[in-house]
Symmetry: C2
């Protein structure tokens, strides 16, 4: 089954209650519901309805729950999926402020469209909504809340390390190593995927081997996703982008770290250019060429493939419910094969999206 | 017993573990611990130790717990006090970003000193720390977490309404009424005081009359505090300030709403001036004079006195533990009598603080 088909099938289970949750917010906080709905693709900046986004976080959560084969009831499963989706949303809303990102999924990021104050308050109410949904049901509400909190905390920790790394030099003994990068993206990029995949196991008291296997698969998948994002920040299907947020900010991303430490002749020139925070189309093209010449692009593509293959391997574990593990694998396979433009959209004609990433 | 003495006595119970909690953060997130420590007055921007702030939130929490006379164990009481203190901290950290406030308690606000990204991440880890402390102990961890979450949510709701009110006109049918103002500050200003005062009652299964009485006292106290803050944003002990953040932003504060709706001859001139967002010392002086002429200053001072008196009356309830209720009353009495400069500092020589407010 393709990722499209999986997401479409799973989406049917939680999309109506997600829309309903946003509407419940609308009764008391119309301005903040507008911001959240906009981020979810449910409406534009004026409130005109849209079709909504992929909801891959919920899909992963429900597939992870299914993989445990432990039979949570429908209401509990839906509450978990919504809580994970909303947690991912408030993390993304904050992420765009932290990284000064102007766009997400091809439209203006929420803080650009509505301002930072309204977005911060939307983060607060979305967090509260996720907490309420998660703790209103199930046998272990506190455990569930702790689980999500723990991973949301890891994301903040990774973000802090990532921001701190931006101001560090590209070369010399204080440079950011690949091992450090790995730690950062485990927190920043993979934690939320792990949280989504494992929440069901935590809630249904799944055996340790299941929890361990899903944690491992989530880490591999999440890291692949993040490293792939590094790639698509610099290149799209047609070549180097006109602007790379990562290069302009001095972000220590996978293609650049591997290029700089490659020992290739072009590495010094690249380091000098990066130190000037390339922001023009010409400079991005030059930097992208140098990264490629140093083998950084190839190494990144290889690493994404390796991690995806490793995740599929992990998901083949015999103790996982097969159908659900295959659903997760179908979503995983999108990362390695989708090229540099994501066309994954569910329930509506596919729209080409210039920005890749977890939706 | 004076508020100083109460705070000093109560502070001894939770200050060392609070310092320890910030230090535990320092091990993994030194930059964020620096921001939190700075906000708490534990260190300056370079990490040089300071004496720390008043910690009135913890004091109210412990006094509230004591008022129930239900005997929570020491570890649980301390955890509650720290969680309340840290919750108040992350709310304030966010508040200063939302309101674009450059200073708090006479020093640069955290986002001005460390930037918005570092402050947002500090909010995240502080929130996580509060949640961990609160849910690690006691018979009702989830109930405690829900209680604090509920009030933190109310603060966000009040902030949203407050920000939305800024862009509304001073006169006409869309003007902000005193009834609306009351709703806003119940959420924005009083919710955290209520949360602090009542957490102990929630955790120790205190009888409904106790919970109700403490909720009532907290609302009265918190509203008095907020209205007093409105006053000190425009005037200090020497007269009008050189700059009023509220007037510059078009904040619908108590002195201004009452002045505008007074029917006094000066109200129209005042409304015209306010619409221009007075930001110069000359304009603030003129606006302050007009507000005073319309009776806005007097009405505000009266309302603070009434609310403080009402809170003291509520705290006289015979079912409350007398000594603890007196502690709360001592803190309450600071609001009405402290004048327009707060000198309440604990454990160190008093430092005159230009900014009043809940610390």
């Amino acid at each position: 089954m393709t990722a499209h088909a999986v997401a479409a099938r799973v989406r049917a289970a939680y999309w109506p209650p997600l829309v309903q949750a946003v509407r419940s917010l609308d009764q008391h906080q119309p301005q903040l519901a507008l911001v959240l709905g906009y981020h979810l693709g449910l409406n534009d900046t004026h409130g005109t309805p849209g079709s909504g986004d992929d909801g891959l976080a919920s899909t992963l959560c429900l597939a992870g729950l299914g993989a445990c084969a432990a039979g949570a009831d429908h209401g509990q499963a839906t509450a978990c999926a919504l809580a994970v989706e909303l947690t991912k949303d408030f993390i993304q809303l904050e992420d765009d402020i932290l990284d000064n990102d102007f766009s997400r999924r091809g439209r203006a990021s929420a803080w650009r469209a509505f301002g930072t104050p309204a977005t911060l308050l939307t983060i607060d109410v979305t967090r509260a909504l996720a907490f309420d949904l998660l703790t209103a049901t199930g046998p272990h509400p506190l455990r569930a809340a702790r689980h999500l909190q723990r991973y949301a905390d890891a994301v903040a920790r990774g973000q802090a390390a990532d921001l701190a790394a931006e101001s560090r030099p590209w070369t010399g003994k204080n440079q950011v190593t690949l091992a450090e990068y790995k730690h950062i993206i485990e927190d920043k990029g993979a934690a939320m995927v792990v949280a989504a995949l494992t929440l069901g196991a935590v809630l249904t008291d799944a055996p340790p081997v299941i929890l361990h296997t899903l944690t491992r698969a989530g880490t591999q998948l999440g890291m692949a996703w993040q490293i792939f994002d590094d790639l698509t920040d610099i290149w799209n299907a047609h070549g180097p982008r006109a602007f790379s947020s990562d290069l302009a900010r001095g972000k220590k991303s996978y293609p650049v770290i591997t290029a700089i430490s490659s020992g290739a002749a072009e590495a010094d020139t690249l380091a000098e250019l990066l130190a000037r925070h390339p922001a023009t189309a010409q400079d991005v093209r030059t930097a992208a060429g140098l990264i490629e010449a140093c083998g950084g692009r190839h190494a990144t593509e290889q690493r994404v493939k390796e991690l995806c293959a490793a995740a599929l391997d992990t998901l083949a574990h015999p103790d996982l419910d097969r159908a659900s593990a295959d659903d997760i694998a179908a979503i995983a396979s999108v990362i390695g094969t989708r090229g540099t433009e994501s066309t994954l959209t569910v329930g509506t004609p596919a729209i080409r999206r210039p920005e890749a990433g977890m939706t």
